[in-house]
Amino acid sequence: MRVNFTVNGRPQEADDVWEGESLLYVLRERLGLPGSKNACEQGECGSCTVRLDGVPVCSCLVAAGQAEGREVVTVEGLADFAKQRTCGDSCGTAGTSLDEARQWAAKGTDSQTGEGTELSPIQQAFIDAGAVQCGFCTPGLLVASDELLERNSNPSDADIREALSGNLCRCTGYEKIMDAVRLAAARQSEGV
């Protein structure tokens, strides 16, 4: 079957989708967006977290056909998504094209100044706080953290723990991830 939906602000079309296929599979294998990670395939690890009509969900548990006509934001579009949120439509063309998304990389690796990077504030905070080790869980954590800070600009530690309770990390441990979210929240409230 064919699935038409919006990914990172741009309309997309996926063909030859098997009816039992997950949204995650469509994103990774049919649209070439491997940012959302495939691990447990049962909603346990959160590494496939995306926004579906704004709501964080495990994309491995959304049937591809259920995404028809809906809006998905993946980690590849997060920087642009955050930018649009901050400055509205005045930022120019909305959305991230598939080509841009596929080539997306954290360029300009001066993590101290963030100079030359195209990162969302939460991505920058993860780098600055050392919250990334192997990086496998990072995309899901970024999407979940970004959504938390969108609805709660001053989260308590308990709020952060709860918001990230569906995302597993098996290498850094969670302290630096907590640091990163606290850092992003502090920067957000200072308007940096």
């Binding site: 009816e19 039992g20 056909g65």
Partner: protein
């Protein structure tokens, strides 16, 4: 596999009538796991995401009519006052991502003994609204809904439309045992609701029998003990011997198995502990509201 996408409830019922083997999918948090792991290859997937009224709820005089697909997140946010037990249970479901998709209809459809909503529904009192194109609507009392391990009273051509849950008329509590506070399939769970209006207590036990069950002997004992001691009126602290007997009878209502999550004897023990604790919590809360209303009078 065919993917059926009805745009309305009537279309969904027609599709289910035409294809009784079709597997309904709403939040997908149960169904997609089975498909991802190749445990299930349904001939038809019946997507209910476009049926908008399944996502709505209405607060009535006596009950809340909760659409089958209302996500747990919405229940936690919006129905804490009306359905405190179910709201607490909803908060223990997996993680935010799962609570954003899953709802009570799925819990009922899957009818796993470990489903988090069941003890809260049993304790509050509920009826499941199901419908078929051929025979229309019927309301199944929650006590008759669970018929076996992952089996329920639905006919093949029926779909779950809503659940009518009695609005809380007294304190309710929910307790669940697991290895963490998130992403946990219940080792066992317990729901308790005080109903001061009828001077009764209702319970629900999860994951400690082939189906979710009520501890009826424990309820009857406690109802009698509370009545005899005049507890509803005098608001005294429940005597430890009454609480212990209630806990023992709740343990006795279990029919658990040994599995990877826990042993049968642990489950029996833990249900007793949760029964005693939730009784204490709810009763203290009842006494508190009694004192407050007396103070105001």
């Amino acid at each position: 596999m065919d993917f059926l996408r009805p745009a309305s409830w009537e279309e969904a019922l027609a599709a289910k009538a035409e294809h009784p083997t079709a597997v309904p999918i709403a939040g997908g948090t149960d169904v997609m796991v089975e498909i991802n792991f190749d445990h299930r290859r349904p001939e038809y997937l019946l997507d209910l995401n476009r049926v908008g009224d399944l996502y709505e709820w209405e607060v009535g005089e006596e009950t809340v009519r909760l659409g089958a697909s209302v996500p747990y997140t919405r229940i936690m946010e919006n129905l804490r006052a009306e359905l405190p037990g179910l709201a607490l249970a909803s908060h223990t479901v997996a993680s935010p991502q799962i609570r954003n998709r899953g709802g009570v209809g799925g819990n009922l459809g899957t009818a796993s003994p470990a489903g988090d909503a069941h003890p809260a529904l049993l304790a509050a009192g509920a009826e499941v609204e199901v419908e078929s194109a051929a025979r229309g609507t019927r309301l199944i009392p929650i006590d008759d809904f669970y018929t076996g391990v992952k089996r329920n009273a639905l006919q093949p051509d029926e779909l779950i439309r809503a659940v009518h849950v009695a609005k809380a008329d007294g304190p309710q509590q929910y307790s669940k045992v697991g290895t963490r506070n998130a992403m946990v399939i219940a080792v066992c769970a317990f729901g308790l609701a005080l109903h001061p209006g009828t001077r009764t207590v209702r319970t629900g036990i999860g994951s400690a029998a082939p189906t979710p069950v009520r501890a009826r002997a424990a309820e009857e004992f406690l109802n009698a003990a509370l009545e005899e001691g005049g507890f509803w009126d005098n608001g005294k602290i429940i005597t430890p011997s009454v609480a212990k007997q209630f806990a023992d009878l709740c343990s006795a209502a279990c029919n658990p198995i040994d599995d990877v999550r826990g042993t049968a004897s642990y489950r029996r023990h833990a249900v007793g502990v949760m029964a005693r604790r939730t009784l204490t919590w709810t009763w203290e809360s009842y006494r508190g509201t009694r004192r407050a209303s007396e103070g105001a009078a």
